[in-house]
Subunit: 548 residues, 2 copies
């Protein structure tokens, strides 16, 4: 593999780790824990792994000795910067306990476990991937580990390779499944521990004990870099409104973090739109008003950040989509026979009056997307809806009305952008490189201590890395019961943006001035070699949350 100069220089970076992880460690146990809610149901579902104590690694005077341990590792779901460092930390941690321990990677995600597709990750391979982005060391995949058949099939290869612990690097669903798997292996005395690691750029896997999911820091910094560059262009050319959609499934953490980093003129936060029961029209009118007010000051340019999941958080649109999903599930063949140019009118005639009127108000392209692009479950594929174009077009229409009424005299020209794939595989920032390596090293420690059903936890990460607190959190502690596909399931509660939290409150208190003034900040690209205030800062979200 040919490497860039930066890859070569960056390979030498030694991630910073909590001081307590170096040398001999022992474990301090907290009291018994309880799940977020639904305690009785969860206790019944996880008789062997419910209620375990929170663990914290502390310095020890006595050096433990360990037998060699063979460990398997799986990358699950979408890429996030730092995955390779979790694996490197895990590898170093295993080798530190006993140099004869081995690490096996399952290929292309959880499917690799079930299909017995694996490779041993030796020191040579690990060294090629230290501090790099991507999941390409073993690949990732979206197979869900949910059934007893999968668990048993996986156990065959684990036994064959003498693997006594499995580390699942994934988001909320993957960690839920890791816990189910750990519970199952414990219930049958399989002799395989399961440990999770909190991954997702979306930032929606976090709670009291998990400060942040890895990759969120790097991804937001890459998006903020390019948004900052666009803002500088916007402020130099002074002729475009840039509508910028940002990846991040449902939660708006990414959009909010980027807003805190770059101070755009507008940032929509889905959770607020839902809480205030806003309509699409409300969102459009809000943006149009900012455009008109800036125009009155002579500024016919600006930036609007839009979270990918917005459309689903607008209660009225959500209802429309539900009715559309339902209608098309039952009338797909009939609908397909209708001439393309007549489809829109047909849909309008079939919907309830309220939804018909909303559907009518949508631009043609989006209306079509809502009826055409369906996922295997028959649902609209929200990520394919070009919300950035939808809003740009509807704001334009609204401005035409304002102009006709004499309330707006400006020019409105737009550019649209969508950033997602640019950030998921960037080389990890120092923060993510350190955090991920520490998570992996901590996972090895939990394995050495014989634990299962835990998530690797590294806290206090706004302090210097040596002061970080490493340990384990029982996964059941983060769970509640939720309805999924019509069934009540144990799941790790997804963290949406808290409207009372410091990050949103800070944004809310500043946004009126950001809208009118041109208060852009230009963060620039992630730096790996410069002064610490440039290279080692955590996200604004985390800084604000921890200062509260």
């Amino acid at each position: 593999m040919t490497k860039s100069a930066l890859q070569i220089a960056r390979a030498a970076y030694q991630p910073k780790v909590p001081k307590t992880l170096l040398g001999s460690v022992s474990i301090k146990e907290g009291g018994a824990t309880a799940s977020l809610s639904d305690q009785e149901e969860l206790k019944a579902l996880f008789p062997n792994t419910y209620g375990m104590p929170i663990l914290e690694f502390v310095k020890s005077d006595t050096k433990e000795t360990y037998a060699p341990i063979n460990v398997g590792v799986i990358l699950s779901g979408g890429q996030a910067p730092g995955g390779h460092n979790v694996i490197a930390g895990l590898f170093d941690g295993i080798k530190n306990m006993n140099k004869d321990g081995r690490l096996y990677g399952f290929i292309l995600g959880p499917g690799g476990l079930v299909n017995h597709d694996y490779k041993e990750l030796t020191a040579d391979i690990i060294d090629e991937y230290r501090n790099t982005g991507g999941f390409d060391i073993i690949g990732s995949g979206r197979t869900k580990l949910e059934s007893k058949e999968q668990f048993d099939k996986g156990l065959e290869i684990l036994k064959k390779l003498n693997i006594s612990a499995l580390v699942v690097i994934g988001g909320d669903d993957s960690n839920t499944n890791a816990c189910v798997l750990g519970e199952y292996y414990k219930s049958i005395d399989a002799g395989v521990q399961v440990i999770g690691c909190p991954k997702t750029i979306d930032g929606d896997l976090k709670n009291e004990m998990i400060e942040t999911s890895f990759g969120f820091d790097t991804a937001c910094k890459v998006y903020s870099e390019v948004i900052g560059n666009i803002q500088r262009d916007c402020n130099s050319a002074r002729k475009y409104w840039h509508f910028i959609k940002l990846m991040g499934r449902s939660a708006s953490h990414i959009a909010l973090e980027c807003a805190l980093q770059v101070q755009p003129n507008v940032c929509i936060v889905s959770e607020e739109v839902e809480a205030k029961n806003q309509s699409l029209e409300d969102v459009v009118n809000y943006i149009a008003d900012v455009v008109a007010q800036r125009s009155a000051l002579g500024n016919d340019f600006g930036t609007v950040l839009i979270p990918e999941g917005l459309i689903e958080f607008i209660p009225a649109i959500k209802k429309l989509m539900e009715e559309l999903n339902d209608y098309l599930a039952h009338h797909e063949e009939e609908f397909k026979r209708i001439k393309r140019s007549a489809q829109r009118e047909h849909i309008i005639s079939q919907l309830s009056p309220v939804n018909a009127s909303i559907y009518k108000s949508l631009p043609e392209v989006v209306a079509r997307q809502l009826t055409l692009d369906r996922d295997p479950h028959g649902n609209v594929q929200v990520s394919l809806i070009e919300t950035e174009k939808l809003l740009a077009e509807m704001v334009g229409t609204r401005l035409d009305q304002l102009k006709a009424a004499g309330d707006y005299k400006g020019k409105f020209a737009t550019q649209v952008h969508f950033f997602g794939y640019e950030g998921r595989c960037a080389a990890p920032s120092n923060y993510d490189a350190d955090y991920c390596y520490s998570l992996g090293y901590t996972a090895a420690g939990l394995i050495g201590a014989g634990k299962t059903g835990y998530m690797s936890s590294v806290r206090n990460t706004t302090a210097a890395a040596e002061k970080w607190i490493a340990g384990g959190v029982p996964i059941t502690m983060m769970m509640n019961m939720e309805r999924r596909h019509g069934e009540m399931k144990p799941v790790i509660k997804k963290a949406l943006v808290e409207l009372q939290g410091a990050p949103f409150q800070t944004f809310a208190s500043e946004r009126a001035s950001w809208a009118m003034e041109t208060a852009y900040i230009y963060p620039g690209p992630i730096q790996y070699f410069g002064p610490t205030e440039v290279c080692d800062q955590p996200t604004k979200t985390l800084q604000l949350e921890q200062n509260k």
Copy 2:
């Protein structure tokens, strides 16, 4: 203005300059020069500025003294990283000659000169903008300085401010106009010198004496960063073909440079498509063949780089667009009265058979774009055509054919991207920060030496900055006569990608292996503080050109 940590740290960077510019300098003059062609016409058009010698600054033992000089500066056209450093170098150069010299910036481009909209750029202001991206210090604009009325109006404010030299920072057209302006002021003894500086991310303003236009280095590095990240994602998820369009008006320098930096599976070079008289179908089939061959190796993923100007370089499409432009120029009203759903058929009925058949083969969205989005001159707005979607869709159609014929068994899922605004205003790389500062400082030197009609020239830039060669090139030397809007005009010859040049030849010799292997390179973000091999490398294009 709130600044990011990087902006604050980067402000202290002291650009590296050629050793000959420091201390006392004198000028070494070459022999008389001639234009590229059309020597007699150009000599007649530029009686005062034609044929001047090439100038080179050399160390001198005697310290010159200068009277204070007031200078005006204009940013013309699209943004390019480093513009602020040209201005900072110019400022420092003027002050170095005599601390009482002043610098005035004309606001929002050449229009500021004509409209007498300006501000003095004092040390405080300059210091705020050192090493930053963007043109926001005074803004830029696209007004063309072409008429005597504009020149005379501009002279009024120049005289009022006692400005004896004007620096125009712009691309090929702006520098041509700068030369026309310089010639005019000289012909009327206005006492105002005009100096140009070579700017454009497109990289198409270059020749024997101008190695590269500033901004090309930084912009290509930003695009290569995000393409590299996408490639890492592509290689981790292994399920998408990414079609990535890159800014760069007509020439393919940006796409080619990015290809050399990231080693994608496919990169289309417009100049080659034209030279080989390829059809759109040829381009589509080439990409589809690569997709099919990779698929046979088990790799249903990849990356395709597409230069923005591609569509105009396909001879057959160019002819189609000419006929469409012509038809719509004469039948616009009639066409607009036709029902939208019938427009396509109508167009097909009006075109010549060859063009009708090509038009018929285009996906609906693109066919519509070709008839709808016209610029003020009645031409198709090529930059609005989503070539990346066009190719992704047509490759999909071609693969369906291959599948039906049993020649392809893979899955083809696509993601599309367009990068342009992300790179034009990035903070300049060390190369661009140094190069731009040197260009500005050199421009001040040319002013001090009483020159006009010159472009600031800094060469030998693949060597260490202290060895760079600074001087001036008579702008007429880069000119020829070309037909523009039906009239023969003096213009600086645009540099397209040379198919015999080392950059293209290197690409051409590697592309077959890049197509089949997954040879991606991940350049990562621009670094400002690290080791020199990471921070100070010029573009691959320049390195290859200078090693030839």
